[in-house]
Each structure stands twice: as C-alpha cells, then as structure tokens.
C-alpha cells in the first residue's frame, strides 16, 4: 500500500494535539471550500476575496498567532501548519492570509498606537476589514532602502506621495500599511484606502498567483492626520520585522504546495500505465519520488525546528532566511518535477500541479528573493556583506 510522503517520516509525531486539531480544521476547509474552486479562480484571475476573508476570520486564521484584539493567539507552529494547509490549496490564498496577518496586522500590532490597534485589529481579525502592505516600488524591489515614496509634514498633517508596486490585496484592501521616506528616515503609515488621493489598480496578465489580487498603489498628495504614522518603529527594521513573520509562514506554506504536487503525482503515476505497467513502477519515476519525498521531509523538519525556535522566542532573521530559501527553492523544484510526471496532463488546470508550479515562481521571488536570502546567510557565515 502506498504511504503518504510525510507520514513516511512520522512527522505527526512531532506535533501536539492542538497543532493537529488546528491543521485538521484548515485542511478540511481547504478541501471543501478552496480546492473545488481554485482552478477556476486561477483561470479567470478573480477571487471572492471579501467572502473568503470573512470565512477565514470565522475560523480564526487572520492574525492567528497574534495576542488580543480578537486574534486567536496560537503558537507559531500552528500558524505555520495553517499556512501549509492553505498553500496546499493555492499560494495565492495563503498570500491573502499572510499579508493580512503577518504583514498588515502584525505591523499594527507590533508598531501601532493603542488607537491603531483598537481601530483596525478586531475588524481585520474578523475579516471584515482587509489590509495590504506596501514596501516594494517599481524601481526598488530587493533594495527597498532606496524607496521614493515619501511623507512630508504640512502643519500637523502628513502629505504622502509616490507609488508602490506588486501589492498583494491592493485593490480589495480597506487599509494599507505604507512605508515611506520622511525627514526622520523610513516610517510606516496606516492609510485608509478611501483617503482622497489614494488609488489602487490591479495588475493583469500575471501567469502566477492568479488566485490573488496584486496591485499598484498610487499616492497623489494623500493627506493623513498626524497620528497615521506607526509610532513605535523607525527605519527598515519595521518592514523587515513584518517580512520575517511572513517569511516564517512561507517556509511552511511552500511545503503545502509541494506536498499537494507530490501526492497528486504519486497517485497519478500509480494509475497511469505505459508500456503495460504503471509509470510509478519504473525505477526512474521512483527515483524522482524518493528524492522529492526526502526533500519534502527535510523541509518539514526544518520548518518545525524554526517553529519551535520561534515559539521559544529564539529565532533569528538568518534562520528564517534558511527556511525561506530552502523551502521555496525545493518546493519549486518538486513542482517542476511532478509536472513532468503528469506528462501532457501536467500542463492543464485539471490537476493542481502547474498552478502550484507557476505560483511558486512568485513565492520564490517575493518576501526576499532567493538571491537576497543567499546573501543574508552568506553574510552570517563570513561576516562580509555582498549586497553591493
């Protein structure tokens, strides 16, 4: 009898009952609500973001690892496992949740005033309010320190000018966390998206993360009150702290996509016969499966190790880089290999694989490209920065 790749390593042995219970809820939700529809969402490039946000809110997925303000306050490992199950559905669906919880809500939770928290977090936890996070600009991606978006004082107010590119949830958001240059260095701003001068337009013609909203934000003399600024952080440390939260989730999430690819390919290969036998029975195919299952298992052990470190408040940014670097890279490799195993069927949306594969191209790039994480780890190992 065929054994599932992760049960081969008895990964569940490393999880608590609570972690398994949370995972079971998300898996069930993804199986019944996401998987049957996501291929269509991907094909049409449209997701029912508002509805989904409310459903996620009801489960407790949004800002699930944050304390208070209606958030569930789960462990980091539970958060990672939820990301993994969501991404077994689709990386775009996981992105909606990551950006909401780990970028937008986390920024407010960690760096906002108590008024910011009271105003935004409960509604965001419920999914009634959606958030986005604007760091990247068209000309400043891997190097956000060069950003041009700026906020200048006008009396007590702020005037925000500039633009942000590739912003997940951008056109469906009620609130944007926008990072901008000020006389005082880079600061974060809480920007209600109905403020005059704020526009968001959707980016079309994507071949990846099609079941996710990606947008360009433009700020044309957006007037904000003095208290729009996040008071408790200054400099790039702010956005980077948020990104670390989200990258942690991605270290788990990518494995969900990889697992779904591998399980799909294995069951396909057991059924599919060529040369009068199942293609799973050929040594070449088995070598692919073995290598992929080994990588998936290693990635899972890495992610869980990071999760335990995070729950013990010991995790470092470099460790998160190892997780993001390895697991996004290996998940993408697994998706590509699985794609080949399905032959012609591998290129259709009838199977989830090419969707995961294309999605993982984005995941490989966002939240710090593979190269950036390589340089972070290289610097940790040598003490020498090689970014410039």
């Amino acid at each position: 009898m065929a054994q599932a790749p992760l049960s081969l390593l008895a990964i569940d042995h490393l999880l608590t009952e609570e972690e398994r219970a949370i995972r079971a809820v998300v898996r069930d939700f993804v199986d019944t609500r996401i998987k049957p529809e996501v291929a269509d969402w991907f094909e049409t490039g449209h997701i029912p973001a508002r509805e989904l946000a409310l459903e996620f809110g009801e489960l407790g997925l949004l800002g699930m690892h944050l304390e208070g303000y209606g958030c569930a306050g789960t462990s980091a490992v539970s958060y990672g496992l939820a990301a993994m199950e969501l991404e077994a559905g689709d990386s775009g669906i996981r992105s909606l949740v990551s950006v909401q919880g780990s970028l937008a809500m986390y920024a407010i939770h960690a760096f906002g005033s108590s008024e910011h928290k009271e105003q935004w977090l409960p509604g965001m936890a419920k999914g009634e309010l959606i958030g986005c996070f604007g760091l990247t600009e068209a000309d400043h991606g891997s190097n956000p320190s060069g950003m041009r978006t700026n906020a200048k004082r006008d009396g007590q107010d702020w005037i925000l000018d500039g633009s942000k590119m590739w912003i997940t949830n951008g056109t469906v958001a009620d609130v944007a966390i926008v990072w901008a240059q000020t006389d005082d260095g880079i600061r974060g701003f809480v920007v209600p998206t109905d403020t005059p001068g704020f526009t968001a337009s959707e980016i079309h013609k994507k071949m990846s993360l099609r079941a996710s909203v990606t947008a360009e934000l433009v700020f044309d003399s957006v007037r904000l009150p003095e208290d729009a600024m996040l008071p408790n952080v200054k400099g790039l440390r702010g956005p980077l702290a948020c990104l670390n939260e989200a990258r942690f989730g991605i270290a788990f999430g990518t494995l969900g996509a990889a697992r779904d690819c591998l399980e799909t390919a294995i069951s396909y290969a057991i059924d599919r016969e060529q040369f009068d036998k199942p293609i799973a029975g050929f040594q070449l195919t088995q070598k692919k499966f073995t290598d992929m299952a080994v990588e998936l298992g290693k990635g899972m052990l890495l992610a869980l190790h990071l999760g335990r470190l995070k729950d013990d408040h010991l995790i470092t940014a470099e460790q998160i880089s190892i997780g993001k670097l390895n697991n996004a890279r290996e998940a993408l490799a697994i998706a590509r290999e699985c794609r080949s195993i399905l032959g012609g069927n591998g290129i259709t949306l009838e199977y989830p694989i090419i969707r995961h594969m294309n999605n993982l191209e984005s995941v490989f790039t966002y939240e710090g490209t593979n190269e950036m994480h390589t340089l972070v780890i290289g610097q940790a190992l040598t003490g020498l920065a090689a970014f410039r």
Partner: protein
C-alpha cells in the same frame, strides 16, 4: 437547559477498516480516530439549542483513551464540559452494554435533553439512542431533521421516505439527528485552544458505579463468529466495439439476466 450529546470516536471515514485477528473487534489503532460524522451534527444542534435557549452542553463518550480527542473536538466546537468513560473492561462491549453504560452515566447527571447521532459509521447499528431512551425511561424522538425546544417540550421533524413526521415529547427526552438537520461548524482556533481548559470528567467503570459483569466482550449477547475480507473486485469484461458494440452489450446483459 442542560443538554448532553453522546459522541463516538470511529476510525477515519476514508481509512480502510479492519477487524482484529485476536478478538474480532474493530482495530481502532489501525486508523486515525475521528468523531463519528453524525455526532458532529448532534453537537452542532446541541450548541444551537443552548445558544437559542440558554444552557449548558456536556459531551459524553465511552471509548478508549484516545477518544479523549473526540471529546476535545466537541469542546473546541463550543461544548462546555465532557464526560469520558474509559476502562479496559469496556472493550468488546455490544450495543446492549454500551447503552447500559451510557444510560447510567446520563442518569447520574440529570439532563433535560440527550442528543445522539442516529448511526455510527463503524458498527452502524442505529440502536444505541433507542436503547438508552428505554433504559432511562424517557421518550425518544429519533431521526430528527429539525429540533425545536419550547419550554418543557421538544418538537422534531422526523425524516421519512414520504416527507416528514412532526413528533413531540415532554422533556427530559432523547433525540437522535440525521445529517439534514444542520451544517456543523468548524472549531475555531480560539475554541481549539479554549478546549484544553474546559472540564473533562474521566470515569472508570467503578467511578461510574457500573456493574462490570454487564460489560465487555464476555458479557456481549452477540459474538462475531468469523469474518473475511471483501473479495477483490473481479476484472471486468472488456467489450471491443467493432461496429457491433451495441449488440454485444445487449447479449451480455441478456446473459447476465439484467434484461
């Protein structure tokens, strides 16, 4: 209102079920345990009734140690407390014994309403709710697709082949539900975390004041004499269409006496 829900842990619906070679009972270690699906509907209905009418929901299960997970699942959905009857001597209990044990546990706790699923997915006898009601001397309104509580009365719609029957009973009463009744909620993450802190009474046979002689495999009124695995599906007959496919299929159907 004090509502009890009886829930059973069963092997995962999708897992291959096996009987044990040694004593012909279900091999509960071979597959993950989950809450019997219909019992999720029972829990949901209890929660809705408690939310609408005020009151407390207590889940009751009889089963091995890991059935505690099923109790916690119900608690994570929102039930207030649990009772778990667990004892090696319960192993192999038949439906009569199960109903005896559950009835005693329930009788000692004075519930206004006891809700059951109408059938388990593993043994599928659909008799436990009725047996428990008989033992408690309570009215049973079973196979409900709708339940309303009004003061001291419970009214249900019983699903039938031709539609439904309206049935009423005085409280306290026993209700069993069918899956049409509602859509069970997912446990929320907060609920999952809160479940750990909710009270669960773990009882042995002695704690519950049960007579051990009436329980377990030796006391069972029925015995599994023998069992066999389902024979593998025979290879089908392939009919090649050489312009006469229709005729060949007709011949086959006539030979098999289908037509």
């Amino acid at each position: 209102m004090k509502i009890a829900v009886c829930v059973k842990q069963v092997p995962d619906t999708w897992a291959e079920k096996k009987l044990r070679d040694d004593d012909s009972t279900l091999d509960r270690e071979a597959a993950d345990g989950v809450m019997n699906e219909l019992d999720e509907y029972a829990v949901e209905e209890a929660l809705r009734l408690a939310e609408a009418n005020g009151g407390e929901v207590v889940v009751v299960t009889m089963g091995p140690e890991r059935a505690a997970e099923t109790v916690r699942k119900a608690l994570s959905m929102g039930a207030d407390a649990g009772v778990h009857l667990v004892d090696d001597s319960l192993h192999g209990s038949d439906a009569l014994a199960t109903s005896y044990a559950l009835a005693e546990v329930l009788a000692a706790r004075n519930f206004d309403l006891v809700i059951f699923g109408s059938e388990s997915t593993d043994a599928r006898m659909s008799v436990v709710p009725a047996m428990v009601a008989e033992r408690l001397g309570l009215p049973q309104v079973t196979f409900a697709q709708k339940v309303d509580v009004d003061g001291s009365k419970v009214a249900i719609q019983r699903q039938t082949e031709y539609g439904y029957d309206d049935v009423e009973a005085e409280l306290p009463a026993v209700v069993s539900v069918v899956e049409k009744i509602n859509e069970p909620r997912y446990p929320s993450f907060k609920g999952i975390m809160a479940a750990k802190k909710k009270p669960v009474e773990t009882l042995t046979v002695a704690d519950a004041g049960l007579d051990a002689a009436k329980l377990g495999a030796t006391a069972a009124w029925t015995k599994v004499a023998s069992f066999a695995a389902r024979p593998p599906k025979a290879a089908g007959t392939v009919v090649t269409d050489e312009g006469d496919g229709g005729a060949k299929i007709a011949t086959y159907l006539t030979e098999q006496k289908f037509v």
